[in-house]
């Protein structure tokens, strides 16, 4: 579903990603862990080209996407993204946040989008907030709306960039629960997170990224209980 070949990313002279090769299949829940500044968020953001790639190739559904020939807007419609800072549109109601893209991009009529929006809000337990504005919601509620907004485009893949890092501790659970449900439904997911318990429970595969390369990849069992790489061991000894 997503294939990454020899991915490099430089910010100025700083090499953030230093040759990443990875293959993510349909239905996989890939959790990316690693220390701050390791390049894990940058890697995720390269997957839908929010960061332009310095070198290497990214394929989505066997189509090379980091080339000017591809209309990236169409590719992005297949890939929902959830941000650390939620990034809800503060000038729109919750329902309008969800329906804006599907209606504007002519994927649905307004009626279909509202119906879908209601289903999604029920799924994230926020049906009664349809007419509220983002400023009236708590952090956890905002992030659940952000997930619903991304799902409204019927994406094939969902990308999560530290979705619980900006939340108060008591709100982390409600967001992770929604993500667990999503994983159970068979959605292909790539998640950057510091929630090791969640990774262990939900991931089909865990990637440990450090210094811009994938140091270790395997099932949660393999990575957490029997890490092979010294850096993985060091990192896990600090966070577990």
């Amino acid at each position: 579903m997503i294939k990454v070949k020899n991915l490099h990313k430089k910010f100025g002279d700083l090499m953030v990603l230093n040759g990443i090769d990875e293959h993510i299949s349909q239905g996989e829940v890939v959790v990316i862990i690693g220390p701050s500044g390791s390049g894990k968020s940058t890697f995720l953001r390269c997957l839908n080209l929010l960061e332009d790639v310095t070198e290497g190739e990214i394929y989505v559904d066997d189509e090379l996407i980091n080339t000017p020939k591809v209309n990236i807007n169409v590719v992005r419609q297949k890939m929902g993204m959830v941000f650390q800072q939620f990034n809800l549109f503060p000038h729109l109601t919750i329902m309008d946040n969800i329906t804006l893209a599907p209606v504007l991009l002519k994927k649905m009529t307004k009626e279909e989008a509202v119906k879908k929006g209601q289903e999604l809000l029920e799924r994230v337990n926020l049906a009664e907030k349809a007419d509220a504005y983002p400023a009236q919601l708590s952090g956890g509620q905002k992030q659940r709306v952000a997930i619903a907004r991304a799902l409204a485009m019927n994406p094939e893949i969902m990308l999560f960039d530290e979705p619980t890092s900006a939340l108060d501790p008591e709100m982390v659970g409600e967001v992770l629960d929604v993500m667990k449900d999503l994983a159970k439904s068979g959605m292909t997911m790539v998640i950057v997170t510091h929630e090791m318990g969640f990774a262990r429970e939900v991931a089909s595969r865990v990637l440990f990224i450090d210094q811009g390369v994938i140091m270790e990849s395997g099932t949660p069992q393999e990575v957490f209980s029997d890490p092979k790489n010294e850096r993985t061991k060091l990192f896990l000894s600090k966070v577990l």
């Binding site: 929010l50 992005r76 419609q77 929902g80 893209a101 983002p134």
Partner: protein, 232 residues
């Protein structure tokens, strides 16, 4: 008669001479029309130019940036009365347009330089995460700008824009220089006709004040409406 009664009688007399006799109030009424007409068209031209220049300044095109920069620099560095006269007597000298339209263009060109800076600041004030969220949903750059960034920018810059409009209305008091009879010029005219300086000038001041008060109150209503999504 007491002092106050004398003063009041004198006041009524001057008021009658300046505003009632020979239907002089009609001059001021038509002056209000001219001021409003010129200001409104100038505001529209100013916003259009301001948006274009703001987008040029934020673009990566060096030529557009340079043109925008020179324009802003020249307008800010010269008096508006000079700009008005250059546009009226030089640039539009041979163009057959209504006086008030040419004056509006001059004030619009002037205002655009200030509006562009306000708009540029407004666009930059919207968090970059908003753009990323829009683009990640598959919206193109234009859709993201018009549906997500600009609506938020407008809310942020609305007070500054209102201020610019108020300044603009008062600035149009110089249109007398190109022979238009606005509020200020009508006041001047009455002053010369009656040899009475105080009453026409106070009248002029009161009319401007009331106009701007009405505008301020109306714009505040609009702002409250824009702010409804901020409710907690």
């Amino acid at each position: 008669m007491t002092g106050i009664e004398l003063w009041f009688a004198d006041f009524c007399d001057k008021f009658y001479t300046c505003f009632i006799r020979d239907d002089r109030y009609k001059l001021l009424v038509s002056g209000v029309g001219v001021t409003i007409k010129v200001s409104l068209l100038a505001v529209i031209i100013g916003i259009l130019i301001g948006m274009l220049v703001a987008i040029s300044n934020l673009s990566n095109n060096k030529l557009l940036k340079a043109i925008g920069g020179i324009y802003t620099d020249v307008i800010r560095g010269t008096p508006s009365v000079t700009q008005l006269m250059v546009i009226y007597f030089v640039i539009f000298a041979t163009v057959n347009l209504d006086k008030w339209i040419i004056a509006s263009i001059a004030f619009g060109v002037n205002s655009g330089a200030y509006v562009s800076e306000i708009i540029r600041g407004g666009i930059l004030s919207v968090d970059h995460g908003q753009t990323e969220a829009g683009r990640s949903l598959g919206l193109n750059a234009f859709q993201t700008m018009t549906r997500i960034v600009i609506p938020q920018a407008v809310k942020n810059i609305f007070p500054a824009l209102c201020n610019e409009f108020i300044v603009l209305i008062k600035e149009t008091a110089i249109v007398g220089y190109v022979g238009l009879m606005d509020i200020q010029k009508a006041g001047d005219f009455i002053k010369s006709a009656t040899f009475e300086p105080g009453m026409p000038l106070f009248g002029t001041a009161v009319i401007y004040y009331v106009l701007i008060k009405i505008l301020t109150l109306t714009l505040r209503q609009v702002e409250n409406h824009l702010r409804k999504s901020d409710a907690r």
